[in-house]
Amino acid sequence: MKGRSEKDEFIESFLKQASNRWGRPEVEEMKTSLRRTAEAAWKIRGVGLDPYEEPSGTVSSR
């Protein structure tokens, strides 16, 4: 599991990318949403997956 500081750096970098694209005032406004996605992306990167674990849709009735 990666440490907290790495996570903070990741989120900071995510928000910086956003600021470069849309400007700081707008990013401040959207910060809650941006941060939630950044934290989610960070979290799933910590999951160990085997190569045979393929991406899936949901259970489909079709």
Binding site: A40, A41, R45, V47, E54, S56, V59
Partner: protein, 440 residues
């Protein structure tokens, strides 16, 4: 007779017996909507003209002894992200404020064919995400009705219509149904067609509905899919009490005190009535389910909105704008990783249902929140949207403040008959009969 308080099945029986006509029912409900709508704001567009014409045709058919099925003459509301031919469909967004579809969504088409009367379009959060609609909770106007299917939940709860349609990507059917004290159901992914429903996230979006009783949900599902009614042989549809899998862990840790207390009381009553409740442990992968759900939703919503977002970014409200913006910064490898995590959790969720017919949790971490600034937290529903398993909420009681609580049941994919039968058991044992007092 207070027609607005009757269930879909009761109204259907009256129409079939010739005791009321579809026109009389529609007029009764339109009067009620006119009276309550200023306080509740459940509707974006009411289709008085179209509904009256449909009710007239269906009344003529009924008089001639021709019935299209249990939905014959039943007025329903439809969330304003379902395409309706010739009727404005806004998605809760200024970008679509003047959009009039040239065809019906599959669901709407099927409803019309089955004899339902489309009353109009109900309020939605913007693009079925989390920027709130103006709708208020009929149980307390100072509280949110939940979202994103806010208008549909409030309309059924307040007696404006016996059934209404919504969608769920995270918790947008189960949570508002629980907040408003009605039954809400989200069948297995894609069991009900999404064609003509504006997407938020293709692999997470589900069509669902709100009714007053579990039997009404079975009728609605049957009318849309051809599934048989598990209640045709009696109230339980099963002779033996069900075996349910109780989920604690994450759910207990994240539930508000009132919500958990109400849930435990409901579980105790179910146990006393003979329902077998066994505790099921959550698998390790549950820990990342919400994160993976978020990454998929952000990535797919971004793809849905990419063109409009480029040209009209500032026409999006802040939550959906932030969601789309965040999705533009998520690499494809993270999106694929999230979908691989979903594969794993589908298998583990199926294993949780191996020895029980349904899983049992509170329907939401809290009762309806005070204020209209947030529609509440979908965290207890999102895992089941993530994997596409069917779920249903049944009202279980009221908090000390008089706000509804619900229990959520989750079933195995394509086993809606079992899920409905289990929910029917719970409904009968819990016996929640209350309705909100009219706010006006």
């Amino acid at each position: 007779m207070d027609l607005h308080r009757l269930s879909l099945s009761e109204l259907s029986r009256l129409i079939h017996a010739g005791e009321i006509s579809p026109v009389q029912l529609l007029e009764d409900l339109l009067r009620r909507i006119e009276r309550l709508e200023p306080a509740i704001e459940a509707w974006v567009t009411l289709d008085r003209k179209g509904a009256s014409a449909a009710a007239g045709r269906l009344a003529d058919e009924a008089e001639a002894g021709r019935f299209r099925g249990p939905l014959h003459g039943i007025p329903v509301g439809v969330k304003d992200i379902f395409y309706t031919e010739g009727l404005r469909t806004t998605m809760g967004s200024p970008i679509f404020s003047g959009f009039v579809p040239s065809s019906d969504a599959d669901v709407v088409q099927r409803l019309r064919k089955a004899g339902a009367v489309i009353l109009g379009k109900t309020e939605t959060t913007e693009f079925a995400s989390s920027d709130p609609a103006p709708t208020r909770n009929p149980w307390s106007l100072e509280h949110t009705p939940g979202g994103s299917s806010s208008g549909s939940a409030a309309a059924v709860s307040s007696g404006m219509c016996p059934a209404a349609f919504g969608t769920q990507t995270g918790g947008s059917v189960i949570r508002p149904a629980a907040f408003c004290g009605v039954v809400g159901m989200k069948p297995t992914y894609d069991l009900i067609s999404r064609r003509g429903v504006y997407p938020l996230s293709w692999t997470l979006d589900h069509v669902g509905f709100f009714t007053r009783t579990v039997e009404d949900s079975a009728i609605m599902l049957g009318a849309l899919t051809g599934m048989g009614n598990p209640f045709s042989d009696g109230p339980h549809g099963e002779s033996e009490p069900p075996k349910l899998g109780l989920l604690r862990g994450y759910f207990q840790e994240n539930a508000h005190e009132d919500a958990w207390r109400g849930f435990e009381e409901a579980v105790e009553r179910l146990g006393d009535a003979g329902v077998v409740v066994v505790e099921i442990l959550l698998p390790d992968s549950f820990d990342v389910v919400h994160a993976a759900h978020r990454v998929i939703m952000a990535s797919e919503a971004t793809s849905v909105h990419e063109e409009n977002f480029r040209d009209r970014r500032m026409d999006y409200r802040v939550n959906i704008r932030g969601l789309i913006a965040s999705g533009l910064l998520v690499p494809a490898s993270d999106y694929i990783r999230a979908r691989r995590i979903r594969s794993r959790f589908i298998g583990e969720a199926a294993a949780m249902l191996k020895d029980v017919s349904s899983l049992l949790t509170p329907s939401a971490p809290t009762p309806a929140l005070r204020g209209l600034g947030s529609t509440g937290n979908p965290a207890f529903n999102a895992p089941w949207s993530f994997v596409g398993f069917p779920s249903i909420t049944v009202p279980s009681g009221l908090t000390v403040d008089g706000l509804p609580l619900g229990i959520q049941l989750v079933g195995s994919p394509l086993h809606e008959d079992k899920l409905l039968a289990d929910a029917g058991w719970c409904e009968e044992v819990l016996g929640f009969q209350k309705t909100p007092r009219d706010p006006i």
